[in-house]
Amino acid sequence: MIKTRLKEKQGRLEKAMIQKEHCTGTTPKSLPATMFVVMAYLALMTALVGENLTTLKTGLPYGLSVLFTGYILFQIFNSGEVNRWRNIFFCTYAVALVISFLWEVVVTGRGHMWLMDRETLAAEGPICPIVSVMDLLPMIINGTNVFPTAIENSVFGVIAWVIVTGVVFGRGFCSWACLFGGQDSLFASMRQKVRWRITHLHPFFRYSAFGVLAFIVLLSFSTLTPGYCIWLCPFKATTEFFEINSFLRVLQTFLFFSIWLVLVVLLPLMTKKRTQCGFLCPMGAYFSLTNKISPFYVRINHNSCTQCGRCIDACPTFSMSRSSLVNGKTDTTCTKCGACFAACPQHAISYAIKGVPFTGGDHPLLLNYKPHNTFRQFIADLWEPGTLFVFTIFLLGGLLFTGTFAENITILLTLAGVRL
């Protein structure tokens, strides 16, 4: 009887393990490899934000922030549930940014969300990475920054940073480091079931963001003003917007707020898709172009793929199609979020690096070790495209996130009356 019970228990454990592996879509990493990656991340983050750790006042919020992101990274590697933990991090970041921004602008700053004309004309606007796509052409041809912020506020640096990020990570930025993408991702994650299923997406919608990109690049170049910011950017609803002092401004406010309600809130809620990122965002379109150059991509293993199509349903940015399964990789709009990993029952989808043959545990140097040898497993886990990609892009996201989250902790402490 005891033997029967033990067998049943073992059977349940094995079943759970298989389910876990199938649920993750990517293999969980061994504990030594996970700890190594997390320690490396924490060490790098400490070095990069170290000056904020010297006093208790800034050290506590920054320390907690770094530890939180370290915990997320640990879970990503330990559980293999890339999409789930990435989404937690991503959505938390988006909410934290809104809180931090509004606190600075409304509570401690000017007291309201609108950017006055005098501030615009005095180049006192905040820098935003989406400006990069509008600023690039005027910068190159006219030498002019079109965004109302002083050029010494790192405008040129932000543009350079966006270009480099695009070249290295492609559209991975959109799911791992974007300041605003977490908003529609958050609403897309809220419901368990899809309310409005999108079975077929017309190519117009699939590539509309490229049209928006072309339009605003031309508009910004011809008018030397940030066209997207003036007319379309929906995230002004949660940050700041131009003061409403004319009918034109009323129209513009109505437009961006409607876009926010529909593309950021309603449609993601109903369809579980990131519609703003997929249909509108010009920066996403730019990063889609750099996806062609980026060494990282998402590969579909033909040998394992049964063409069940679950990954197509799961993809939040419409970057999977039947042709993707035939081509063996996702479309150019792929944000490398890992949602398809979790959906694939065959474990056929993974991160890959162009032109680099990752042999993992079968590397000739490791063949002297037994298959389940700890050291061999450790090296195999580290020397994998997914590990390299997730570690580097999470480092980028973590750097962007840390300051924002630290500010949120400071806000909480301030509200609680705690003085450090």
Partner: protein
């Protein structure tokens, strides 16, 4: 093809990493960026400067009354700048085109009358000559305009907290134009509060003060249409005079006092052709009047 794309990507990354590192280490200063021709759209930086005139210190043409002896700097203008702010109509920016008149003085401007703008002195008049318009005699006695005509008179009146525009018939065509004051400190810090009267410590920090008045181009026309001329006169407010400004003149650009009749003869400051200012301008911080103080236009 793939290898070429990767090589291109690596090359771009290497190329752009240099300015990125320079940015992070704070070496991308605006002077350096200006060397490679990078600048913010001038419309966000006070406007495209179409004219700038400097005036030497200590060239007062009339002695300052005893009551204001300690305020000599207040009547000694150091520079006058005209800048144009115009956004493309296609942009949807929603900010009306304007002409910024910027006046700079050494030190802090006095406020003996407790003005809402934190300066009561001086009162400034600018006579603007737009091409192809009419001429009449000047509004104030004792001032002769040598050269050509003038079409608009701008009265910058800190005492009354506003600027006004008159046409050649003395008709008020615009009032309630706000005057923005900006204090410049030696270290260019932002210690000086814009909304509170500076305390003594802050006063000592002020090296210069600039006043900015924004004139709607809809009222006066576009200065790029020809060679506009400006006559700048520095005087005093006068509660009893019709224009609110006394006829006393203490400083002006290119002016002299005629010995025969003691009339101040002004030479025009010509803006000439458009040119881009190559250098750093103190950014004027200016604003339109708040709610309830709309610009009134009474065009005949």
């Amino acid at each position: 093809m793939k290898n070429n794309a990767i090589m291109l990507g690596v090359f771009l990354m290497a190329l752009l990493s240099i300015p990125a590192v320079m940015m992070v280490t704070g070496q991308l200063t605006d002077d350096r960026l200006a060397l490679i021709g990078l600048h913010t759209n001038p419309n966000y930086n006070g406007g495209i400067i179409i004219a700038r005139f400097d005036d030497p210190a200590g060239d007062l043409i009339d002695p300052v009354p005893d009551a204001f002896k300690g305020y000599k700097n207040a009547f000694d203008i150091r520079s006058f700048t005209v800048a144009r702010v115009v956004f493309s109509r296609l942009s949807g920016m929603g900010i009306a085109p304007r002409l910024n008149l910027v006046f700079e003085f050494d030190g802090r401007l006095p406020d003996p009358y407790d003005s809402s703008l934190q300066f009561s002195l001086p009162a400034i008049q600018v006579f603007i000559n737009a091409p192809d318009r009419s001429f009449t005699s000047p509004l104030l006695p004792g001032i002769a305009l040598t050269g050509k005509e003038w079409d608009f008179q701008v009265c910058i009146d800190g005492l009354h907290g506003q600027a006004r525009i008159y046409d050649t018939r003395g008709t008020l065509i615009g009032e309630g134009l706000s005057i923005a004051i900006k204090h410049i400190t030696a270290d260019n810090s932002d210690e000086i509060s814009k909304t509170h009267i500076p305390d003594k410590r802050q006063e000592d920090l002020i090296t210069s003060t600039s006043l900015n008045v924004a004139l709607p181009l809809d009222l006066i026309g576009d200065p790029l249409t020809g060679a506009w001329e400006y006559y700048v006169v520095i005087g005093m407010p006068d509660l009893n005079s019709p224009g609110g400004i006394s006829s006393s003149v203490f400083d002006c650009f290119k002016c002299s006092q005629r010995e025969t009749d003691n009339v101040i003869a002004l030479q025009p400051l010509r803006s000439g052709l458009y040119r881009q200012f190559q250098g750093k301008m103190h950014v004027p911080d200016f604003f339109f009047a708040g709610p309830g103080e709309k610009i009134k236009e009474r065009m005949k």
